[in-house]
Symmetry: C2
Subunit: 663 residues, 2 copies
Amino acid sequence: IMATTTLKGQPFDRPVLDSMLRRRMFYTPSFEVYGGVAGLYDYGPPGCALQTNVVDLFRKHFVLEEDMLEVDCTALTPAEVLKTSGHVDKFADWMCKDPKNGDIMRADHFVEEILESRLKGDKEARGVKVEEKEDDPKKKKKKVKATEAVKLDDAVVQEYEEILARIDNYNGEELGQLIKKYEMKNPATGVEPLPPVEFNLMFNTPIGPSGNLAGYLRPETAQGQFLNFAKLLDFNQQQMPFASACIGKSYRNEISPRSGLLRVREFLMAEIEHYVDPHGGKKHHRFEEVKDVELVLLNRHTQLAGQTHVKKVAIGKAVADGTVDNETLGYFLARIHLFLEKIGIDQTKLRFRQHMANEMAHYAADCWDAELQTSYGWIECVGCADRSAYDLTVHAKKTGAPLVVRERLAEPITVEEWQIDLDKKKFGPHFKKDGKTVEAAVEALPQEKREALAQDLKLEGKITIDVEGVGNGKVEISKDLIVIERRKRVENTREFTPNVIEPSFGIGRIIYCLMEHTYWTRGSDGGDEARGVLSFPPIVAPSKVLLVPLSTHESFKPLLRHMSLKLRSLGVSSRVDDSSASIGKRYSRNDELGTPLGITIDFQSVQDKTYTLRDRDSTKQVRADEETILTAIKSLVEGEKVWADIEKELPTFEGQEVEVPVR
Amino acid sequence: IMATTTLKGQPFDRPVLDSMLRRRMFYTPSFEVYGGVAGLYDYGPPGCALQTNVVDLFRKHFVLEEDMLEVDCTALTPAEVLKTSGHVDKFADWMCKDPKNGDIMRADHFVEEILESRLKGDKEARGVKVEEKEDDPKKKKKKVKATEAVKLDDAVVQEYEEILARIDNYNGEELGQLIKKYEMKNPATGVEPLPPVEFNLMFNTPIGPSGNLAGYLRPETAQGQFLNFAKLLDFNQQQMPFASACIGKSYRNEISPRSGLLRVREFLMAEIEHYVDPHGGKKHHRFEEVKDVELVLLNRHTQLAGQTHVKKVAIGKAVADGTVDNETLGYFLARIHLFLEKIGIDQTKLRFRQHMANEMAHYAADCWDAELQTSYGWIECVGCADRSAYDLTVHAKKTGAPLVVRERLAEPITVEEWQIDLDKKKFGPHFKKDGKTVEAAVEALPQEKREALAQDLKLEGKITIDVEGVGNGKVEISKDLIVIERRKRVENTREFTPNVIEPSFGIGRIIYCLMEHTYWTRGSDGGDEARGVLSFPPIVAPSKVLLVPLSTHESFKPLLRHMSLKLRSLGVSSRVDDSSASIGKRYSRNDELGTPLGITIDFQSVQDKTYTLRDRDSTKQVRADEETILTAIKSLVEGEKVWADIEKELPTFEGQEVEVPVR
C-alpha cells in the first residue's frame, strides 16, 4: 500500500474517500441487496454522469479531432475469433485450490499475501512498528489471522523481498515451487494448496439454441475492429493512414477481484486502432503539433537496472533519440497525456512506463503504459502499443480474407522472380484427386526454394516436394509437367499489411484515479476535516451548477425554474437542491459531488434579479445580475476563464451563506 | 411483408436500401470474415454516429429534462436475481427440432412459414399472381423448395388464415398440436419436427473461477435499476416521485434470428423506471404541458373486435376518458411521441398500440407500445408499461430489503389493531431452542387471525398456531405466556411500495426504422432512381456538414482546414471529402450517408472567401461569405431555421456543381 496525498497534500485516507463515494453513489456494489458479486459494480448518478462526460471528451479529443472511424462491435464473440487472436490459449491466470475447503485463490496473490504476512510478523518480532492501513475488512480479517510475530533469518527476509519484487514474472510452475519450497499454507485451513493450474479469464457462453457455437464475452474491443479492417479501409476510400475506435464494455472473469473499481469483471474500454504503413518509419503528419509536449518517462533500461527514476522529456526528443520507437507511437503518447491533463488527472501522479521485453507480446515493437499513482500503487490506465502487423496477419491467415492495403505505385516497378508454370492438361490427370492439393503446395513454394528446385529439374529432370496428406508426404513431379524459370514482372501496386498502433483506455480505472486525484478535505484550509471535496474540472464534473434557494419559500420557485431553463439553453447541466437543509449543508453535499459552481437565490434576487455565484474550491462568492452571472458560468464551464478571473471582474459577496461545518 | 413507401411516396424496395446501408457501412454483419453469426451486427461509422446522436438526444429529452437519475448497471447478472424477476422460468420461446438433421426452429415461425407457403401454393394453383418480394436469399431458397402449387379447400384456407392471424397467441402444446393436425414437415428433410420444447432466451455464463455462481447476461436493464431503488431514493433525498434511467446493452439468445437489425442477440436499450405513489391516481405534475399532444392510438377494444383502425386523440382526452390508465403513463406516451418526432420518425408511420389483457403480465395495470411501420410490418420500438409494484415487491420479499418509501404523514393517524405481548421471561425457557421460531410465527400473525385467537385465548386459556419445523407443526401457547388485545397506535409515517411506469426503448430498432422512414431516391424528383438519400434531421445526422473542395488543388487546403476548425468550434461535426471523384459523385455519397449540408470550396472561395452551401434534400445551393454561411449552418443544425428560410435570405447559386447521375 502506497502512502499518497490528497490534491492539497494531506495524508490520503482511502476508507474515508471510499465511504464518501459510496454515500454519494458515485458507485455501488452491484446486486448488493442479494449479497453482491465480487468484481461487479454499478455507477450511480454522479459516477454515470462522470463516465458520460469522460467518454464524450474522448470522442471529441480523439475521434472527432482525428476523423477516426468509430464502430460499435458486439461483445459476444465466437470462440474461433479468440482462438486465432491467441486469447483462448493464453488469456489466463494461475489459480490454486485449497484441497480442504475448496477455496480458489490467484496463485500470485496467494504467494504475495503469505510472504507479506511473514515479513510483517518478522517486523513485529523485531519490535518494528508496523503501520496498519488496510481498508478491506475481509482482507484485514484474513491477515490478522495469518500474522504471527515470528522472527526470520536476515537471509530469508531478503529472499522474500526479492520474490515479492518479481512477483509478476513467475509462471504457474514457478509459483507452485515457491509454495512448496516455503511451505505456504492457506491460513483459513492450515493446508498447502494444490499446484497452480491455468484459468482462462474469458466468460464463455454458447450462442444459439443448439449450444454448438462456442462463444465468449470479449476481453477487449480490438478484435471486432480488426475484423472490420477491409470494410473500414473501403469506407475511408482506401486512404491510409486511418484509425478506428470502439467504446464499449469488455469482460474478464477475474479469479478473486480485489482493489475495488480497479479490478472488475465488467468494464468500459475505449480503444483506438491506428493503421499505419510499416515502411517509412511510421511518421505521423501531426507529430509537429505535439513534439514539445513533455512526458514523464520510465524507460526500459532504467527498469532493467532495477530502478524507477523517471525523466521528463519532450516527446520530440524521446522519438529522436529512440527512447520511443516511432513518431506515430509518440504522437499518441502525447495525445494521451493531453487527454488525461484535460480531464483533471494530477500531472505529478502520471508517468509513462515502457514495457520490458519479457512483458510485451513477441510481436510488439514497443509498448508504453500511462500509469496513474493511487493508494493502490501505480496503476496502468492506458496502454499504448505498437502491435506490428500481428492481428491482421493471423486473422487473414485463418480466414483467407485480404486484410491488406493495395496501393497504386507512382512508378511501376519491375520484379525479377522464379515463376512456375504447370501443364494443367497433364497435371490433373496425373495426380487425379490429389491434383488440387499438389498444385497448392507448388504455388506456395517460396522464392529461395524455387531456385533450388529449378536446379534439380535441370539436373535430374524431376523435383520432389513435401505435400502433407498425399502419399507418404513426398511428391515427385517430372519436367513434362512443370517449368521453373526466372522472369521479370511489372508491378503497378504494392500490397502490405498495415501495422497497428493501439491506444487502449480503461475508462473505469481512469475515473477511479481521477476521483483519488481530485479529492481533498476542508481540513487543509483549517476547516472541517470531515468535509470532502472533489475538485473535478468543470468539463467532466457530473453537474456544473447547483441552484440553491435560500429556503423553501414560494417566491424563489419562479426564479429557480427560470435559471434552470436559462442554463439548459446554454448547454450547461444544473441541479436544484431545494431541500430544507441549511445552505452550508447543501453546498457541502455538492462539494462531495464535485459540482464546481453554485448559484444562491435569496430575497434580494427576487427584488433585483441579482444572484450570488459560488466557487466550489475556494468557497468564495461574487454577486451580479443574471446576464453577467450566466456569462461567467459559460466562460468557466468552457474553460475560457478560471475563478480567479471572475473574482477580479465581479464584486465579492459575503452574505447569506454560512459555511457551517456540518454534513 | 408489408407494402410500404419511401419518404417521398415511392414504392419501397428493401433490398436496395439494405445494400446501400451495408455499402455505406451503417451496419455490417459481425465477424463476417469468419462467416458471421446470425443475429449479431456491428455498426460502422455512420451507424455508430447515428446511435450516439440518438442516445445523446435521449439523455437531453428525458434524463436531463426531468432530472432522472441515470445509472450504469452491469450486464452480468446472478441467476438468483433473474429467478426472482421471473425470467429464469418464463423468458422463453418454443423451439422444435428436426429429428433427422437436427435443425432447430422456432415453433411459431415454423408453423407460420409452412402455412404461408401452402397458402401461396394454393394461390398459384388458383392462378392468382403471387408477388415475389423476398430479400433474404437463404429464406428464399428454403421457400422455393417448399412451395408447391396445390389447391386447398376454401375452408382450409380460412383455417390457415385464422391460425396465422393468431400466431402469437399459441403456447408450445398448441403449436405442437397444429404441427400434428396439419402434418407440417420440415421442407429440408420431409419429416415432422419433434414436439416443441421451451428454450430460455437468456445467455448463461457462470461467474468466477469455481463455476458455482450461475449467471446470465441481462435481457433488459430494468432489474439492475430496481435493485438500486433504496439507494436512489436516498440519493434523491427521499423525494417522490422520481425516475431512474439506464442505457446499455442487453442480450437475448434468439432461436433463429431473422428480420435483420430488428431481431438481434445483442442490442442497445434505454430504459426509464419512473417511481410513483400508487395512491391519488398517479398524477403527473407536468401533464398539463403535454395534454394537447395528439397521439395515434390503437386501443384494446378495437383489437378485441378484430380491427386495426386507429384514433388520433389528444393525450389529455385519452386519460380523461380512461383509454389510457393514468396521467403518468399518458405523460410518458406523449413524451415518447415528441422524442420520436424530434429524431425524424415519420409521423404517419407511428401508432401507439395498447396491449390486450392476455399480452400483459398479470401484474401490469396498462401497457402501450409505440409501433413504427416498416417493410417488416408494425414493429414495437418503445414499450410503455405500468408495472404496478410487482418488481420491487418480489425483490423485497426475496431479499428482505426494504424497497419501500417511508413518508412522514402531515397529520398523524390513529390505527386500532390487535397487538400481541409475549412474556419473554417465561417464553424463552418454555420453548427453549424453538423460542425464536415460535416468536417469529406469532409476530407474523395477520390481524384477522389475531382477532380469532384472542377469542380462543379468552375461551380456552390457550391458543394453537402453525409453526413450520417445530414439533408436529402445531404449537400450543397458554395464556400465561401471551396477551392479545385490541389497542390504539399513533402512526407518524406511511410506508408504501411505489408503482413503476416503465418506458423502454429498443434503440437499434428505432434506428433501423428511422433509416427506412427517411429513405427515398432522386427518382422521385425525376432524377436517378439509383441515387438514394437518407433525410435525417440535422440533430441526429451522423455528420452535419460535408466539406468539398472543387479539386485536389493545393490552394483549397488552407480553406478546408480553416472551415473544419471553425465548424468544430461551433460544435458542428463535419467531414472532408477531398477525394478525386467528381463533386456530384462526392455529394451523392454523402446523400446516402444522410449528411444534411455541404460546403463547396472553389477558386472564387480562395479569392473572396465566399462559399456555397448545399441542401441535401433539395440539392439547392446558396452562396455567401464565411460568417453568413456559418451562421446559417448553426441555425439549421440547431433547428432554429429550415432550408426554406435560408433560401429566402441568401442568394441562390447555380454554379460549379453538376449533380451528375453517377455513383
